[in-house]
Amino acid sequence: MNFLNLGLAFGAAAVVIPLLIHIFNRSRFKVVTWGAMHLLESVLRVNRKQVQLEQIILLIVRCAIPILLALCLARMVVTDWGPFLHRIILPLAALAFLILVALAPSLKKLFGTLSAACILYAIAAEAGIFGGGYEKKNVSSDSTDIAASTVILLDDSFSMNADGGFAKAGAFTEGFLKNLKKGSDASVVRMGGSASPIFAKPTSETEALGERSGQLKASYDKVDLIGSLDAGIATIHEGRNAKREIILVSDFRKADWEKTGGALATLKERLDNEPLKPAITLIDVGGSARENVSVDSIELSATSIGVGQKVLVRAELRNHGSSSYEGDLQVRLLVNEELNPVDETVVTLNPGETGQVLFTHKFTEAGSTVVTIEIGASDALDDDDRRSASVTVLDRIGVLLVDGSPSEEWLSGETDFLKLALTPFEEAKIKNSVETKDLIDASVVRLANFDPAKHLDGNQSVLVLANVSSLEDEQISALSSFVRNGGGMWLALGDKVDADWYNEILGSETNDLLPLPLRNIGGSLSDDSVRTRVVASHFEHPALSLFNDRRNGNLADADLWRWHRLGESDGTGTQDATVLARLETGDVFLAEKKVEKGIVIQMATTVDGDWTNMPVRSCYLPLVQQIASYLADQVTPPRNLPAGATLTHYLPQKEAGKTLNVTSPDGSTHTVKAVKRGSQAVAEFSNTRKPGTYQMDGEEGSSVKFVTNASPRESQLDRMSEEEIRESTNALADSIDFIDASEKDALAQYLELDGARTFGRETWKILLGAVLALVLLELILQRIFGRVRT
């Protein structure tokens, strides 16, 4: 027995009202000195017991009325007739027999015995001494007869499109919702990507909900099984009806149900604690299609690329099916989702095989660009035949070099080698064409002339301090805000460096711009025996990962004569610096520290040839180019995201409060507002459940493209057998109904199944009837009990 409005059940406390009235009446009596006592006494002699019985009966009836009314208003639900019988029906029957005792005194022994028997039976059954024949007989309720609260978990991941599975699912959902009994409430939770209900709350407008469900498309990511079940249980908990059920319509791909055991056990616990357990029905609408070729991933060699630079686009293709492609699988490269491919090729892909295709492409226009790899295969799923990535094509990366040891002589200044390596074409005076355009726009300023307000304008992404002895306080604070807002800073040390200033001012708690403190200087300029090299290990860091391929140069080629020994913490402090590379002596060569949105990279030696011969080695150019692009790259948040992730775009602070339009893959547009956060404005958009390209347009026409991709696992069409499904769902509930819709109509099967099921049933109608009957009975009894008896 449960209550839909538990609070109102406490209204049963109103039972004290008739009791109090009774006691109050008895205690406040009038005294009459009476003469005709012989008339009264003979009446009393015959009637006293009878009158007492009648008064008790009336009192019981009056007390029963508020109790039953409270139970009625609290909408009592019985899941099994047993308790209802011995808590409500039998006491009422006992009362009825008691009334018969009062009305027919000649048969009082018979009725009295029956009344006592009812009470004894009820008490014995309640105490569990014996159950009677009715125990555990659930209350049956046909689906089309009574109102229900239903949550449909609808799989709208794109794998549902195989074999027309989603059409079946949509037809079932629409048909089911439109057939619901009046008074029902329902909710449809879409499972693809992340659980997303159509309406925020369950609605009783089930027909409208059904219509909406019929118009849905399956083009979403892998189902969020646990999240959807969690949302479903939370929704069903708030259901307004006693009959509750969760219907999961899916194609039951193996990939969806992997590694769910632990989470399902938690959900089972929640389900077990539900007072009105929902029935769970699984409807399998999946088909047996297996032929599928998908683009599993797309990788670009860099996420920021200069105009005219070559970019490598590598895509991984997989043949999930059994048909083979012998050099006839078309692969196309599209830019900005234009119809005509910029490049195309054909590949061979045998069953079960994974293949790679590699394209190179040069972008001619700067801006946020989407690169798409598309395969021309006729298979079960279309949505996974293409995959995109967003790439930022930069015109130039602004790098400001602050020279702490300038020189008039060529290549003698501290930054001369660096400038040459960062802008090789410009320095070589080669004619400016797209192919020979430098990505990096480096400008040099001498330390004496360095004015942050003037030199650090919006075009500079990276600042290099090369052998700078120290800076003024204003310069430091300008640098600090530059880095904290996402700028990159490269500290190259040297003989001019004032180690105390670096440790105390740059590395102070307020500035906190120094990755590792400076200790002493290692090596010697005169003694060749103390030379050292960079340890050429496998580099995890993106700035150095290029050197994992020895063809791109080897950092260990260069000798270092002198270097600053950088103090690594002993592991107890708050070490937030990462060491990127070490010298053979064990000292740090490169260290990195993230400072809010920006990054500081510290190099232990000089960037010119004073302390090392690195500038004349082949690894120098890629190293400085990589470090500069890496530092510049960090300014933007990622733009290739899994479906459902939040898109984030940084804007200058002055843009705060402005609105941006976001165009979704389905063509719908939304607006987001840029809000001030720290020293920047941030625009965020989180409704990215649908995989595809999202374009964020600012007021000035600048647009940014984000790409969200579905999980490649969704392309795996391996289905679970019914046994496997039952095995998986055993962790969720003990009894789950399963409908295979592959051959017969799902709705017809469901209705057949539902007719045989049992649920808790609301009893308010019975209780209300009993209350009305008791009220009427009270009136009648009051009249009857005033009748003649001598």
């Binding site: 009446n25 008895r26 406040r28 009596f29 009038k30 005294v31 009459v32 000195t33 009476w34 003469g35 005709a36 006592m37 012989h38 008339l39 009264l40 006494e41 003979s42 009446v43 009393l44 015959v46 009637n47 006293r48 009158v51 009648e54 008064q55 009990f785 005033g786 009748r787 003649v788 008896r789 001598t790």
Partner: protein
């Protein structure tokens, strides 16, 4: 000291002025011939001739008729005799009842005034009247006198009477019968509560002694319609230890039924014994009921059985 006007309301008396209390049966004269009449020289009015039967006194033979018809006839006369009336007033505890509608007018109060009124009327027609008050036992006896001033004595006794004690009508009547030596009118003013058989026995005793009996049964309206609603404790007026706390609404029907039953039996018993039963309620002026009864009696009828 009570005055006559406390008990006798001139308005009531004028209402009753034309009524005379006539003993319906000729109290003494009816039996003449069976017993020697003590009353001689009374005005004698011829009534009828009757055939002589052996044993009749010869001196009553009408010789003139014998001379004409050669048959023996006896002359019969209608005799007037003095009415001797005894008023029996019940002063038991139950007569002290006064209901909500009759505040200040208990049944005894009503009965006393009725008794005084009757006495006055009887004395006025030069008959004699006496008074007996009783509860379980006889309390006071005032023998019948014909003097007009006797009403004062009666009122003094009424004034001194206060309710108390249990009712035992049967015993009192048995005790009283031998004391009323001469046949006459016996007027009982009582509520007649008590064991019905015992009361009827007592009344039969009166009838056996050839008294003409009239009962004025005094009711309070509360006793007739039992109007109590809320929980009530009924304390007995006659026996202090009898107390019953009940919900009167549940008992009302049964009480009324019981009352009806009792009244019917009582009425039947009275009818059987040829006793006039005149029910009176204390909220009605006694003059009305009395005047109705007297008018009826003058016509020679009897109150209906109901």
């Amino acid at each position: 000291m009570a005055t006559v006007t406390d008990y006798l309301n001139p308005k009531d008396l004028s209402h009753l002025a034309n009524h005379q209390v006539l003993a319906k049966r000729v109290v003494e004269g009816f039996c003449s011939g069976l017993h020697r009449s003590p009353h001689k020289g009374f005005s004698v009015e011829f009534k009828q001739h009757r055939q002589y039967v052996p044993g009749d006194e010869i001196r009553h033979l009408d010789w003139k008729v014998y001379g004409k018809s050669d048959r023996f006839y006896i002359r019969e006369y209608e005799e007037e005799t003095n009415l001797r009336c005894n008023i029996l007033l019940d002063a038991s505890g139950s007569m002290a009842y006064e209901g909500t509608r009759t505040k200040g007018r208990s049944k005894l109060h009503y009965a006393s005034r009725l008794g005084a009124c009757l006495s006055y009327m009887i004395l006025k027609q030069t008959d004699s009247v006496g008074l007996v008050t009783f509860d379980t036992k006889i309390r006071k006896v005032l023998p019948p006198r014909g003097r007009a001033a006797h009403v004062g004595n009666i009122i003094d006794v009424l004034e001194d009477t206060s309710p108390g004690g249990e009712t035992d009508l049967g015993a009192v009547f048995h005790e009283l019968v031998p004391k009323l030596k001469r046949r006459g009118l016996v007027v009982i003013i009582s509520d007649c509560f008590g064991d019905l058989d015992s009361v009827m026995n007592g009344l039969a005793h009166f009838r056996h002694a050839k008294h003409d009996v009239v009962i004025f049964q005094i009711w309070d309206p509360d006793e007739l319609d039992f109007p109590f609603k809320q929980w009530t404790r009924f304390d007995c007026l006659e026996m202090a230890e009898k107390k019953h706390t009940v919900d009167p609404t549940h008992l009302r029907q049964a009480y009324l039924e019981n009352l009806e039953n009792y009244r019917e039996n009582f009425t039947k018993g009275c009818y059987r014994n040829r006793i006039d039963l005149v029910p009176m309620t204390t909220d009605q002026p006694y003059a009305d009921a009395l005047s109705y009864y007297l008018a009826l009696r003058k016509r020679g009828g009897r109150p209906s059985r109901k």
